[in-house]
Amino acid sequence: MTPAGARSGDGPLLDVRDLSVRFTRRGEPDTVAVDGISFDIEPGEVVGLVGESGCGKSVTSLAIMGLLPGRGPKVGGEVRFGGDDLLALSDSALRERRGRDLGMVFQDPLSSLNPVVPVGVQITEALTRHRGMDKKAARTEAITLLERVGIPDPARRVTSYPHQMSGGMRQRALIAIALACRPRLLIADEPTTALDVTIQAQILELLRELVAETGTALMMITHDLGVVAGLCDRVNVLYAGRIVERAERHRLFATPRHPYTHGLIGSIPRLDSDPELELPAIPGSVNDNLPWDTACAFAPRCPREIGRCTEVTPGVETAASRLLRCHNPVPATSA
């Protein structure tokens, strides 16, 4: 939650420059999932990547981790992490970094845990491989980790299989695996989407505590602006594979400048909003896009569209620690 103390002058921990991912299929035009994304993460910072389905947020995280399938996608740009370009590393060098420096938590814990291996073994695997522990020490450490993530009766739980745990507990186990080697960066891809609200609150609280305690930087990928509002220091809003707005969270929610961000925040029913009022919906769906090359992708759905929006790609403007990609942004005072 508080970025101040953890920030140091060594430059960003993760520096993504102009990352693009293009899926090619024979006989069909390429699909550009990620279209030149640049952002960075400071040590200990919590950065959010928000967008709707198909905006490229998950592909971004998979590209950073080098987990995209080998053939098919063409990845361009640079991902600098601790001095190395992750995209240029060999498979074995990358495998050394994954798990040790980079941890990842996925959306669906049941399909990302191995169903025929006890969770304890899945944690010790990382410990023996990356931290060179022997079996016994690793097991003790695994119990400590399970206890740390709030699993009751950890000594018994190390022998449990994923199917014997509830959804919330599986997600906790997955977080324990990701944190086993004390990574400097944790990437969480929709970690609470499959969970109930009360369990979601538990997991978010856990992530908040862990970030504060271990100084791990967290990249939070989600579609839920509510989750972002309570957790992230800086927020990147993605639309159709590009970042359309980036700002510190208080500023972003108080004065959203991009019409998409503005519309997204407005269209969410809130517990403290007036139910008599009609929700200001964004018309159309995420498929109604224009290509970024010649226009603003959001133009067909945009209430503030002007002639230029369908003819010229809006450039990136950075002013007062806010990044914005729009020809006709919402005035800073209206919000």
Partner: protein, 381 residues
């Protein structure tokens, strides 16, 4: 939707749906050749609720609390174990055969996943006319076509959509087709089970607005089932909160959110992320520990006592509280908690709850074994 003063001045003739002590228990069987019943999953266990004509009743709860099963039992998509469902004066729970089929025209359902609830090989026109024919509402090709065009217009789709197939539409458009299908037989009650949870945020608002516009224009009655409290609050006149097969609190939407009385409702409300950093930073969070207990072996007494931060030693774990109007609350506000007033007035304070290990072999689904052992232990018994 309809204003709340409507709901306070209702008489019994306005009652469209009256559910009384409804229970749905699914048997857990064991053995291959001779299936013995070894226990029951009490998905819905003693629920009573009333829905008035023209109002929207919202049901919220977490997964496994029985809200979907309750909705399905009301529509007779599952058979209730006991209790009655009076729909406009007729007990639907005991109807059979042709009278039940004819009754079905009057209550329709909108499902969560519009793609899997629409036949992929039927065009939209054929999907919609099927219902018309089945209920004898078809008035010949021309008249039907005019009616369908009108329907498409009502749900905000072009009439050209009639000739297309479900896969050609986006998620939001498919949900509009699902709504059109429910509307085409002119029902009185629509049960919408998670109508927007499969949709993108920007599209959710469109569908919610459509539902409320249709209610205003057609005088529909809705039972909206959802896990998202903000969505339910937005659309509902009255809201019931379910926990482990029972309703724990019921109140007009505004009251429930401004003055939640049941500890579970309080925890649920404090857990909903609000897209406002200021609110998020300042709010008090009531974190529940542990998971939902198995509905196959619900806790004794108050079902929430295993996770309740306000649990008292006296009767929380022995006596199941009934819904009652607490002192100082509106006449429509009912809560099933022994200590609701004391908690509100601060006479009881929160304490730590140690999470109890809840074993499960398949989430909280119907296969969860009785007495909460692991699957291997269970098979060995």
């Amino acid at each position: 939707m309809t204003s709340t003063e409507n709901a306070t001045t209702v008489t019994d003739t306005d009652l469209l749906l009256e559910v009384d002590d409804l229970a749905v228990h699914f048997p857990i069987t064991s053995g291959v050749l001779f299936e013995r019943t070894v226990g029951h999953v009490r998905a819905v266990d003693g629920v009573s609720l009333r829905v008035h004509r023209g109002e929207t009743y919202g049901l919220v709860g977490e997964s496994g609390c029985g809200k979907s099963t309750l909705g399905r039992a009301i529509l007779r998509l599952v058979d209730p174990t006991s209790g009655s469902v009076l729909f406009d004066g007729t007990d639907v729970a005991t109807l059979k055969g042709e009278p039940l089929r004819r009754m079905r025209r009057r209550f329709q359902m909108v499902f969560q996943d519009p793609l899997s609830s629409l036949d992929p090989r039927q065009s939209v026109e054929s999907l919609l006319t099927e219902g018309l024919r089945a209920h004898g509402l078809s008035r010949g090709g021309e008249a039907d076509r005019a009616r369908l065009t009108e329907l498409m217009d009502a749900v905000g789709l072009p009439s050209g959509a009639l000739r297309r197939y479900p896969h050609e539409f986006s998620g939001g458009q498919r949900q509009r087709i699902g709504i059109a299908r429910a509307l085409c037989v002119e029902p009185d009650l629509i049960v919408a089970d998670e109508p927007v949870s499969a949709l993108d945020v920007s599209v959710q608002a469109q569908v919610l607005n459509l539902l409320s516009r249709l209610q205003r224009e057609l005088g529909l009655t809705y039972l909206v089932i959802a896990h998202d409290l903000a969505v339910v609050r937005h659309v509902s006149d009255r809201v019931g909160v379910m926990y482990l097969g029972g309703i724990v609190e019921e109140a007009p939407a505004g009251d429930l959110y401004s003055d939640p009385l049941h500890p579970y409702t309080r925890a649920l409300l404090s857990a909903v992320p609000v897209p406002d950093p200021q609110v998020e930073d300042d709010r008090e969070r009531i974190l529940l520990t542990g998971d939902l207990p198995s509905p196959a072996a619900p806790p004794s007494g108050c079902r929430f006592h295993t996770r309740c931060p306000w649990r008292q030693a006296d009767r929380c774990d022995t006596e199941r509280p009934q819904l009652r109007v607490p002192e100082g609350a509106g006449p429509e506000h009912r809560v099933a908690c022994h200590h609701a007033e004391a908690i509100r007035d601060g006479r009881i304070t929160r304490h730590e709850v140690a999470p109890e290990a809840v074993d499960q072999s398949s989430g909280t689904g119907p296969a969860a074994p009785e007495q909460g052992g692991s699957l291997t232990e269970f098979l060995g018994r």
